[in-house]
Amino acid sequence: MTDAAAQRVEALESLLVEKGIVDPAVVDKIIEHFEADVGPLNGAKVIARAWTDPAYRKRLLADATKAIAEFGFGGPEGQLIVAVENTPSVHNVVVCTLCSCYPWPVLGLPPSWYKSPEYRSRMVARPRTVLAEMGLELADDVRIRVWDSSADARYLVVPERPPGTDGLDETDLARLVSRDAMIGVARVRSPGETDG
């Protein structure tokens, strides 16, 4: 079946190329660009600045699209990004119940699980349970806010800065910020803490 799907895409491309509508080299470059240059590291830089520069944090929370553009990040799926901040009492998590809206310029392309029907439906219905299943246990008194992405708003979670990071600069801080923390399904690691 997958072979049939693969050949159908191949058939589509061959027709598009034949008609002069698409240049395969341009397709290569776009794929390369999205795989190599557009990714969660962009978002991590944004978060690290928000942690170290209170004025930037303010701008980010007021108009994330604009604040993110200060880094030169933008493009498809990058309009109307909204930053939502975690606090000791509120945890934010992002989902797209309709399809797979996602802030590409700061997070790259969404992971497979983000697009799965299970995640899309269950995160809305039982966020605390789903987060715990994904390895993030939240205290009962922490309120969870689930943000449903759409064409009107794509959300970026601003995680809390982990303890023990006072001496770190922006570059070191950015290394701590994972994609999952910016979706809201993980905490930011403290320095020295390893994955899992």
Binding site: A5, L12, L15, V22, D23, I31, A36, G39, P40, L109
Partner: protein, 107 residues
């Protein structure tokens, strides 16, 4: 939707950490190809991104268990057929040709 700058960036530098997050974006090569084709079509204005997105939403809603990239493919086919760029029958014919190729045709 301007052409993204910096496409020819050095890939071995410190720009690669997206991999640090264990990100698997595509499970099969045809999925990344399909993605690239769609973006190329939107950038050159053959497709409208928002029209495509709405088509994708409909296809996902129509069949919740169909794998994501299959819905994406169906959505793109519909958009192209809708604007008479590639008709369904044209694509079916080419697809059939490819399925009937002898093994070892690789070019």
């Amino acid at each position: 939707m301007a052409e993204a700058p910096g496409i020819d960036v050095d890939l071995s530098g410190p720009v690669s950490p997206p991999r640090d997050n264990g990100q698997v974006v595509f499970d099969a090569p045809w999925e990344r190809r399909l993605f690239g084709l769609t973006l190329a079509l939107c950038r050159s204005g053959v497709c409208d991104w928002e029209t495509f997105r709405q088509s994708l939403i409909r296809h996902i809603a129509d069949d919740a268990v169909r794998p994501y990239w299959r819905s994406w493919a169906a959505a793109l086919e519909d958009v192209l057929a809708g604007s008479s760029v590639i008709t369904h029958s044209e694509l079916d014919a080419r697809h059939l040709e490819m399925l009937n190729r002898p093994p070892g045709h690789d070019h």
